[in-house]
């Protein structure tokens, strides 16, 4: 009796969802961030529903199985625009974005009401290494440091520390591809000593990101600059949303997301920027790390390069932009702070350009060489720059390293786009009313 009462109450909580992002799953993430009944959590331990958003490639099935089994009982799963594994029975699958929150709530309520069983474990119940029966107490270890106590070896000092003279144990692990502070799909093997990154090797590149369809159109024919610039600003705002969430500014991050949703030529960045500056985002957060030298900056391109002092911008070569008297703004330091200041400046600049371009009805003139928000796209689109992280991150403190990852837009751009989006998605991505070109 008492239990059913407890469960009834429990079903009314905000649904804690752990999102596993597949390809193009970040849209669902942004949609859910603004859904009142949903709480996105960072750890599967805190979740009641595992959401697989977007198609997860086969090479990430193993990590997905691991995360699936890390949710404590009772839990359930929901597959959004991806095919549930055949051996999972009665797994709901959702296609439409605006049905997603409702489906998540139903899943949680049914789970609490006992109308749906908790999802089964997929992996066999075995420790990572067999260990029973060895050692003094059957703990599996040998001597001081040897063996595999409780199924795992102990950490050893593998390499000298790169900052301090003391050499202590280093911890090596693989993080991702479903870690919320990483770009979707990225996995890295990291060695830490204390909380300092000793080595970093990116093992799985992040999923290629799809840009707004207007960028693909711009590769084919001239498009209104206003539309292009609004899409650019929106892209940057989406990145800002992730970074602010990571920095502990949840409310500001939602503001950034809302601004992106309702972006129009009359939008201004002023309020958000003031808020960030006043909150001390540029002074208190981890901002000093990840300095790019010119070579690295050229490799990654785009705003990150301009933040490091390179004034390359393909928009300079476009007659339409020249009419608007466009000139790129740059930062000099090339660190995380410079990148965010650059990003904010570029959003601001894009909004101004969009405003002017709308008034004068300016169109782009170049189609072969365009500047995407991710970087220049001439013969080839912006490519995956995640190997760059291997050089930039060693030596940084953990928080600094993750802030650096968030500030660098490393994912490649998918080569063909546009056609895959369904109407409801477009509405979400472009935020409905604001866009004058519809």
């Amino acid at each position: 009796m008492a239990v059913s009462w407890l469960r009834k109450l429990a079903s009314r909580t905000q649904v804690p969802v752990f999102p596993v992002l597949g390809k193009q799953g970040d849209r669902a993430l942004r949609y859910l961030a603004l859904s009142p009944e949903i709480e996105l959590v960072d750890s599967p331990r805190h979740a009641s529903v595992l959401l697989i958003a977007g198609e997860v490639p086969a090479d990430r099935f193993e990590p997905l199985r691991r995360v699936h089994d890390q949710l404590p009982y009772p839990f359930t799963t929901l597959w959004f625009r991806s095919e549930p594994w055949p051996h999972l029975e009665n797994v709901p699958r959702v296609e439409k974005l605006d049905e997603l929150p409702g489906a998540l709530i139903t899943a949680h309520r049914e789970l609490m009401a006992g109308q749906r069983d908790s999802a089964p474990r997929i992996l066999t119940d075995k420790p990572p290494n067999p260990w029973k029966g060895e050692g003094d107490f059957g703990q599996g270890g040998e001597g001081m440091m040897g063996g595999v106590p409780y199924g795992r070896p102990m950490a050893m000092n593998m390499q000298d520390d790169i900052r301090d003279g003391l050499t202590l144990d280093s911890l090596t692990f693989r993080l991702g591809p479903f870690f919320s502070a990483f770009p979707p799909g990225m996995m890295a093997e990291i060695t830490l000593q204390g909380d300092l990154v000793q080595t970093w090797s990116t093992q799985l590149a992040p999923y290629p990101q799809s840009l707004d369809p207007v960028f693909f159109t711009a590769r084919e024919r001239p498009v209104p600059i206003a539309e292009l610039e609004l899409a650019r600003a929106r892209h940057h705002l989406h990145r800002l949303f992730q970074a602010l969430r990571l920095a502990g500014l949840e409310n500001a991050s939602l503001d950034a997301l809302r601004l992106a949703q309702n972006l129009s030529t009359s939008s201004t960045l002023g309020g958000l920027r003031r808020r960030l500056v006043r909150s001390g985002f540029f002074r208190l957060s981890s901002m000093e790390g990840g300095v790019l030298d010119p070579e690295q900056a050229r490799q990654i391109g785009g705003p990150a390069a301009r933040a490091a002092g390179l004034d390359d911008d393909l928009r300079l070569e476009d007659a339409g932009y020249r009419r608007l008297r466009f000139s790129p703004a740059c930062q000099t330091h090339g660190n995380t702070r410079a990148r965010w200041q650059q990003t904010l400046n570029e959003i601001d600049q894009s909004l101004h350009l969009a405003q002017q371009a709308e008034r004068d009805e300016v169109y782009t003139s170049e189609v072969d060489r365009i500047e995407t928000p991710r970087g220049p796209w001439s013969e080839q689109g912006p490519e995956d720059a995640s190997p760059l992280l291997d050089e930039v991150l060693p030596g940084l403190e953990w928080g600094e390293a993750l802030a650096t990852v968030a500030s660098l837009d490393v994912a490649a751009v998918v080569n063909e786009g546009g056609g895959t989006q369904t109407p409801d998605e477009l509405r979400v991505v472009q935020g409905g009313s604001g866009n004058v070109f519809k």
């Binding site: 429990a10 079903s11 009314r12 909580t13 905000q14 331990r45 502990g248 949840e250 939602l254 600094e400």
Partner: protein, 308 residues
Amino acid sequence: MFLNELLLPVLMVTFMLTVGAYVVAVLDRLIAGAFGAPQAGSVWLAPMARGAWLMTQHANATEAPDWQAWRLAPALYLALAAIGLAVVPWSESLVATDLVTSVVLWGSVEALATVVIFLHGWSANALLPLIGGYRYVALGLSYILISMFVLIGVALPAESLQFTQVVASQEALWNVLRQPLGLPLFLIVGLGMTFWGPLNLADSADLAGGTASEISGPPRLVWDVARAAMLVAFSGVAASAFLGGWLGPWLPGPLWMAIKMLAVLLVLLLLGRLLPRIAPERCVTLMWVVLLPLSFLDLVWAGIGALL
């Protein structure tokens, strides 16, 4: 005697623990809503529903945790919050335990909180909680000196280490005006000891929940409640030390106390929503190089003020 000296204090503290934690949850939700977080359903019911869900969720385990320490840490944190609440005076006579050295006892609660939070991060035997625990120690060992200097500042005019005396000494002028640096510095300590908002180095987003990233179900409920209760205990201490505790016209003392505690809570929760998480290295430098000298200044100011 038994009734007055044992039962009443215990009831008072239990009441404050539960109601206080609930109020914190509701207030934080209201503030988040005011800043534009999407919200649905009743604000008043939400903390209960969440608690109920955590009670139905199974507790997680890791491969080889330090079981005793892992389960003890949330309970100990709650116990520390209870001790903090026990030394807060509600009126001249209504105080759960009126220890002669209650100001020092609160200092000890702060120091022991560091131990408990570290233990919580350590005992899971998982990487992200471990980093969270160690990060917190950097913060915990930095704020403790500031807190002590500031509290010694309020003990000077009271000539006592007892919170009832500290409140009584503010009859003429509250310490918040007499020692203007004190309360702001002390609020930072409060954010630190509950690792709230900008000082959430222990359970931060970049560690997927830090020391709490591996716990679920009832242990997580206790941990969250303890954290909220600690915030309440802190606001009680801050209200007694700087805002004149039960002193105030017209209304009865305990009511004044409740109002002042709410005010402190509100400020803390606002700060928690407005500021980004500070980088650990910058935090340590800031605490030792800027805030600690400021707390020296506060003490000297308090000393001169007490002599005049």
